[in-house]
């Protein structure tokens, strides 16, 4: 199970590819890609967005679904999805949920 991620070019904000090829700012809102072909398609969408100067650094990562919520597998991606563990007041973990 994978999701596609990137950073917005202008702000640097971490985003994930959501439904309809839109970038979302919460990993829980990301679209899940299963299987090689689907992932390749997702990456291609992300790359196309990169070519439109919307995002940078597009890549895929492993996730699981726990209690209906998407959770990245690796610690690095968990931290990226939440914000610095030493600053609960900063990053996405400190913001109200918006797409």
């Amino acid at each position: 199970m994978k999701v596609i991620t990137a950073n917005r070019l202008l702000s640097g904000e971490v985003v994930w590819l959501g439904d309809g090829g839109r970038w979302v700012e919460r990993v829980t809102l990301a679209r899940i890609f299963e299987g090689k072909e689907a992932v390749a398609e997702g990456l291609a969408q992300g790359m196309a967005s990169k070519d439109r100067q919307e995002v940078v650094d597009v890549y895929e990562l492993d996730v699981t679904v726990e209690g209906g919520v998407i959770v990245p597998v690796r610690l690095r991606e968990k931290i990226r999805a939440a914000g610095p563990t030493i600053h609960p007041d900063l990053g996405k973990q400190a913001q109200a949920v918006t797409a």
């Binding site: 640097g12 904000e13 030493i86």
Partner: protein
């Protein structure tokens, strides 16, 4: 303090304009990311885990109140209200927006600051002893030479595309506080028998995945040859340094693979060709630059202060502060004060905008408008009157930068690690915080004495773990954070690379392991004067190994 001349001012503003245009072209789609990335890196702008990161140079760690206020202003206006001071005497902002960076660079240029050559394969910010111009044991102020090197290396066309990054450090005292032997070029000011000023020159130090101490290539390099000799080193490196493998591209590998004698001969040969050319450094030029670093007028006073002594008796926190955070000044009646950015349980090196402003105010009020950043991620007021210490301390307490722990177990160096850094394999800051909490009690810290713990979140070693008395390297093992300990490292004039003690520890175990090491030291030291490092050098690793892993 050095003031920009017309040349500096115009090149910094040109560069800011260029970058503004590059950002505009990037946003317009005229530059693709692959084209833009090297350009942004040349201006100190990285992409990290959560956002962009901007690294601003603080040449040789020296700044004034106006510049510090600007750093605070930028933190508040364009970032999230704080900045992170690094082991390379820079400041990093962790949350700037790409679209704001041209504006930030303009703001910096207003106070003669910039982010040029804080990244990329060029000669980086030249670092120097943070007590430069103040320390009692100093032969001469190293900063004029650092400034001369900065001018020579800034946008040097021949050295803008080196095989890899290149770092120079310089110290003016026999006691090396600038870790010169861990740099690509390390310079130690010295005097020869005739009383002339020159440098001991070291080449090929570096940490990262292949840690190496620099090797001595010259016992005495005359002052006038500084630039020609540096250029000769760079030319040899530029020509022979490996470009085929990024991990073997630093000059340390060249020294290692070529052999010291042959490399020395190559350098000397190149040096002879250019020695009497344009790079010869005239004495008048040195004096002209030195004038910028002229010390403030300091009246000689009594070597001790009754006000300090009185306060020390009645106030334990003040006594601890005075015991640990002062460095002997060359002028009696003065001292250099370390403002610790290591509050117990805090993030090493972070300072809020308010703290930066408080520091700026105090530098003006008590410190002749001089501020230094140390590679140990602390702030220094180099010229403070002893009699002003009680009042200064009160103000520091109010700003929450009064921890009396300089050089102690809680004065930990830590890189940003996985909380911010895209390259990290584990977190570093939370480990530093937990160690700090474990040992934070004043008596315990004082009992342990001098101790340098250094933590990196990956093999790149930005936290200098190889040269920590106790070094901690964060790795990843089976998806979990995992910490490898090294012992016996040191970055001063008796530098050494620490040795790995054995298998690593999980995040849950690592603080206990550090405590075991420290308790072992306390149990075997010959007396209170024997530091952890000295004891380790005396007894070797066995007792520590045994304590950690049981008898073999």
């Amino acid at each position: 303090m050095y003031r920009y001349d017309e040349f500096d001012a115009s090149f910094v503003s040109q560069r800011t304009e260029q970058f503004k245009d590059q950002v505009r072209r990037r946003l317009a789609g005229e530059l693709a990311e692959d084209e833009f990335k090297p350009l942004r890196l040349m201006n100190g702008l990285y992409l990290q885990l959560h956002a962009y990161m901007l690294r601003v140079a603080i040449p040789y760690g020296t700044l004034n109140a106006r510049q510090m206020r600007k750093l605070a202003y930028i933190a508040r206006t364009y970032d999230k209200g704080y900045g992170h001071f690094t082991t390379r005497q820079n400041i990093q902002y962790h949350w700037p927006r790409l679209e704001d960076t041209p504006k930030i660079l303009e703001e910096l240029a207003e106070v003669e600051m910039h982010a040029i050559q804080t990244s990329g394969n060029c000669i980086r910010n030249v670092t120097a002893d943070h007590f430069a111009g103040a320390a009692a044991d100093e032969i001469a102020d190293p900063r004029p030479y650092a400034e001369i090197l900065r001018q020579w290396s800034s946008l040097h066309p021949e050295f803008s595309f080196l095989p890899r990054k290149f770092k120079i450090a310089i110290t003016g005292a026999p006691h090396d506080r600038a870790a010169v032997q861990t740099h690509d070029i390390g310079l130690q000011l010295t005097r020869n028998d005739a009383g002339e000023t020159g440098f001991v020159v070291f080449v090929g130090g570096g940490l990262g995945r292949t840690p190496m101490l620099a090797r001595k290539v010259r016992d005495f390099l005359p002052e006038e040859d500084l630039l020609a000799y540096s250029e000769a080193i760079l030319r040899v490196y530029n020509r022979y340094g490996r470009r085929d493998n990024k991990f073997k591209a630093r000059i340390k590998i060249l020294v290692h693979e070529t052999g010291l004698e042959e490399l020395k001969a190559d350098i000397e040969q190149e040096f002879e060709k250019i020695r009497f050319g344009v790079l010869r450094l005239p004495e008048e030029e040195v004096h002209r630059i030195e004038a910028y670093f002229a010390p403030p007028p300091l009246e000689v006073g009594a070597a001790t202060s009754a006000a300090v002594d009185r306060r020390r008796e009645s106030d334990a926190a003040f006594a601890q502060f005075v015991a640990h955070n002062l460095n002997a000044h060359r002028v009696p009646g003065y001292t250099s004060v370390t403002l610790s950015l290591k509050p117990i349980g805090g993030v090493p090196g972070d300072a809020s905008a308010e703290q930066m402003e408080a520091i700026a105010d105090l530098a003006e009020k008590y410190g002749h408008d001089e501020i230094r950043i140390s590679h140990e991620q602390n702030v220094i007021l180099p010229h403070v009157k002893l009699d002003d210490l009680p009042a200064l301390f009160d103000a520091l307490v109010a700003a929450d930068i009064a921890e009396g722990n300089a050089g102690l177990v809680t004065d930990i160096i830590a890189c940003p690690g996985m909380d911010y850094c895209a390259l990290a394999t584990a977190r570093s800051i939370p480990v530093a915080q937990r160690i700090s909490e474990r040992f934070g009690a004043a008596e315990r810290q004082a009992e342990i004495g001098e101790m340098k713990i250094k933590i990196s979140g990956c093999i790149n070693a930005c936290g200098h773990h190889h040269v920590g008395h106790i070094g901690i390297l964060g790795l990843e093992k089976k998806g979990e954070e995992f910490y490898q300990l090294t012992l016996g490292g040191s970055a001063n004039e008796n530098a050494s690379i620490g040795e790995i003690v054995g298998r690593g520890f999980s995040s849950d175990e690592v603080v206990d392991a550090v405590e075991t090491l420290i308790d072992t030291y306390l149990g075997l030291r010959s007396g209170k004067e024997e530091t952890f490092l000295e004891a380790y050098r005396r007894v070797g690793e066995d007792p520590f190994k045994e304590a950690l892993y049981g008898a073999a």
